[in-house]
Symmetry: C3
């Protein structure tokens, strides 16, 4: 929550100083001594897939004042609300008649007290965003000239993005198999809380949670980049990502108390889709699963048909589905520590499923092994948790045929993944399960030689 | 509606002069200068699959009169209702006592005022169909002799059927692939409107609609044939149809205002099944999808296991599911211009889906192509139709992987097929999509060479 | 019902004299002259898969008395209720203070008037099962010494199980294909009715029904064995069962009037799963289908991953889902002749589906064969049963493509299997269907040479 508050105070556009300052703040919060942090500056004009890196845009100050009424001060003032400037606006510094000015004002008529968030291509036009109430007050003053100032620069510079990579510390998938988990969040929205800083704050916190879990088979890559061009620049520089990315999540709108919404990957049944759905199902809260659509956030870039990465999208209340969306009312009051923390928990739990989803072979697959002497069977009549543990043991043994990974076991049994994973660990420690050399085509264990009663 | 009225006035049985007169009337209404019209006469006794062409049956007049009561005139008179004669009845011309006559009268006790429609094998017996009220009035006259006349002939002749074939005028599927769409309707029911002339009228009107659409990849074959033996005769003469027919529809009971019912083909997931279901789903009207059953109309002949053609069945209120079915109450009052016209629209829309269902490859499949400069992205906040068009563009690009045809795109996106097809056409014109050389196994486009920011 | 009553009177544990006496009683009821009956004695200590055959346990008498109150007689008396002794209890014959005795008493507090059924490993401890009321009455007597006697032996002996095998009397599946149907029921619960004798009584009655049906393609093996160790001993001695067992059912809790519950096999879509579901669907009674779980009865042994037999589980009210479960209230009053008889009927009907589920090829697959002359088409307007028979004929012909077995036809048509099987038999007798040489890849019959009308 504190990190979210700090990031909320930094003015960020798609490019420029605010992005750099935010990334530096994030870097401070990443776990020390674990993972590699890299900031990439892509020079303006660099071709990135079908696009090119845009001109860098920086804003220092902006206002509208009435030169005939100096006592009124700044009528619209960037220092009071950093959404007041059309993001990417061309600079301006001249007297502008109301008849012209009003064509450059953007409002959100549905929410008359709030300032909308609008953007344009860098330098394409100039403009201010104001509340409908501000607009009406200006209009009431009648035709007159205003002093209009946007102290911005549109100039060659760079597109800035950053990655934090936590390498695996345990043997991973076979050589040549994808072995990386990609978590991506956008950095470009200024004073928006739920649709702005929540993703950055959650990702930074998740970094700590991941670093604290030893035995990682996968590498974890956290990507902080401005929407669209940032993702495209990363893809342009990581054209082998289809071979590397095993699973991915885009994080956004993840800081309120709304129910989770999972947007499945384009593939629809990738392991990330199933793992995330499983985690959400076993939380005692409402949630929603949706199929992939090629709009909304950077999932559409990662899931473009040439890459088709298994990247799902996780939000709480989704973009566009709350009335404060893309207005100054999407402020820190929308966030909650429980909301942010719950998202970190869910992401970590999803990673736990990905990590733990191995395939085992039952080494005593003929009939039920005698578990009593091993202490694996509690006496009947014990407490509910123990009953679930017993069921997990029986499911893990029964589906231990080299064709069911533990997530299959969890899905088929209806048990939560951690219970199944614990059961598998206990069974391994008793030499009842062994990891399958390959998920398919296991050699069938030979039937133990036994004497026959007849 | 006018065509339906004219056809309603012609007395038709399975064979004979009425069929020929009806086909001639249909031929007049087919588009001039487009397509080939052929009438086939299959001589009586010709083996047709497991059957043979029946004797030709013609009827001139028929009545029942009381010779002792000439003032009463014809008590039952074919000129008043052409359903009065059992279709296929043997001729008769003699005095018949009531005790014998009543065994040859057919009624529909559930609808006492209406005359039922009944048939027999040509010449197998003789009989009249009368309303229950007529029957009761005759019965009330007590035992007496009647003058009974059916002026019919059962004689060697021919089974008459006709086809109209509109050839493709654009490159079609690969050589050896099925390239014909078969639309079949029955010609054999006399004065029945919904279960009689509606199919013929709709098919004739559809011919005009198809001829007016240039760029047809498929040939269209409209088949007008008596039920069962007509379809069997056509199949006997078109034993290669499994290699030729890409899709088909049987049309019947398609002239009232009832909701559409689609009876899927035996295959269940043929392209005709999916195209028809898609068109019905996107009309703003109730409709019903049903699985194939091997009874009812000629779908069962086309879908017999040796042929297994992908032929679905389209009706509005289905046969047997309205109380006037197969009685004199299934008259012109059941038809509506809107009902007939809506069926023509649906059939044409289904053909549009079949025609347009091509598979494309996105030529810029890595990330999202920059659509703004192409004018393909309207500014945000435009009207709803434009939003759907934008979504269609994004879906067509995202699923442009050579494995999704446009109907797949429409089904997955939930968008109507025409919107998806328009989007694909625009994208082709901007060289963003190209038709897939094959639906599967496309060569993956090479990643464009780009400079890398790191 | 009479057999159930007789078996209910015999005291049975997992091993020992009661099992042998019960098996002898069963043998008397099996059809004479048909099938082979074999009783297997597996010596104590024989390794059976991961287990070993347990010591044999026999019980003669048991009681608790107060030596200071001889007038009160036996306060707890095995002769009054044979559930009073913990099954497997070690022998005891000494004075025991209440403070010790109460630690060896088991009750069912939820059902204070009933004696629970509890077991232990042979000789592991000693104990009595008493009603909560008995316990409270003893507790009210205060601290004192009791005369405690359990006249039992735990000694090397044997584990006793039995099989009845009815060989096929008609050509069966191809050599090397599984050709055996396994019906298994547990023998080990003493005076329990629904969860005890019902399975044995139904299986014995089913034997008669099967023997009375000639033309069996499959062999039928009825297995009577104590739970867990009995099934494990059988599997140990039949390690080739995966190659032999085509279908199987475990029978238990099948004597009350509760709705049927089918627990599918681990495979979930084995022919036994589909056949049983089909039979239950077409009975005019509620029923429930459940997916496999690896607990409850011996299904989990047969469905252990090394064997993975296609064995489903059939019950009426399932184990654990009625309040009298595993108490003295699960007595003969829970059984009904209709309940037991209905289970026999269902099992026999399932076997009929397995037997009749052959695959046919339509010998006139092009168009509809002319059925009228064969008398296969009744005139329209006949009674409902005949209409179903006609539909069955049309379905059997339409799906007679060598790829649909009769159960597929029944499932797709919605008709009951017997109607479909009768239709197929009639069509075979008219040379319209022939049995498919193989279920797949049939040679397509050549199109009959016919003259072409055009």
């Amino acid at each position: 929550m504190r990190l979210a508050e700090e990031l909320f105070g930094i003015y960020r556009a798609k490019t420029g100083a605010g992005v750099r300052r935010s990334l530096a703040r994030l870097a401070d919060r990443l776990p020390t001594g674990a993972g590699e942090w890299a900031v990439h500056e892509v020079p303006t004009g660099t071709p990135i897939l079908d696009w090119e890196a845009p001109a860098e845009w920086n804003l220092r100050d902006a206002w509208i004042a009435d030169p005939t009424d100096p006592a009124a001060g700044r009528l619209v003032d960037f220092r009071r609300c950093n959404l007041h400037v059309l993001s990417g606006s061309a600079p301006i510094d001249r007297r502008v008649p109301w008849s012209e000015l009003k064509e450059h004002l953007h409002t959100a008529p549905d929410r008359p007290a709030d300032v909308p968030f609008r953007t344009c291509e860098p330098g394409a036009t100039w403009g201010f965003c104001v509340s409908q109430e501000q607009y009406d007050a200006l209009a009431a003053r009648g035709e007159r000239e205003y002093e209009v100032r946007i102290d911005a620069t549109v100039a060659p510079g760079a597109l800035t993005l950053a990655e934090w990579f936590l390498p695996p510390d345990a043997p991973g998938p076979a050589t040549g198999e994808p072995a990386e988990v990609l978590i991506s969040t956008h950095t470009c929205h200024p004073a928006l809380a739920h649709d702005g800083v929540s993703g950055m704050a959650v990702a930074a916190e998740l970094a700590g949670a991941l670093a604290a879990r030893p035995g990682r088979r996968f590498g974890y890559r956290l990507l902080f980049a401005p929407a669209t061009v940032g993702a495209i620049a990363w893809l342009a520089a990581n054209r082998d990502c289809s071979d590397r990315v095993f699973a991915g999540l885009t994080l956004a709108c993840c800081g309120d108390d709304g129910p989770f919404t999972l947007r499945r990957s384009r593939r629809g049944d990738a392991q990330i889709d199933r793992a995330a759905a499983h985690v959400l199902k076993h939380r005692d809260e409402p949630y929603e699963l949706r199929d992939f659509v090629p709009f909304g956030y950077d999932q559409r870039q990662f899931c473009s048909p040439g890459f088709d990465l298994p990247v799902a999208g996780l939000t709480r209340t989704p973009n566009g589905e709350y009335s404060q969306y893309h207005t100054s009312a999407d402020d820190l009051s929308r966030l909650s520590a429980a909301g942010l923390g719950g998202t970190v928990e869910v992401c970590a739990a999803i990673c736990d499923v990905l990590e733990g989803n191995r395939t085992y072979v039952n080494l005593k697959p003929y009939g039920e092994p005698r578990l009593g002497p091993l202490g694996l069977y509690a006496a009947f009549g014990t407490e509910p948790d123990s009953a679930a543990a017993q069921r997990a043991v029986q499911w893990a043994l029964n589906l231990g045929d080299g064709r069911h990974a533990l997530l299959d076991v969890a899905e088929r049994s209806g048990l939560p993944f951690p219970a199944v994973a614990r059961a598998a660990a206990v069974l391994r420690s008793h030499d009842l399960l062994t990891e399958s050399p390959t998920a398919d085509g296991r050699p069938r264990p030979a039937l133990p030689a036994i004497s026959c009663p007849q």
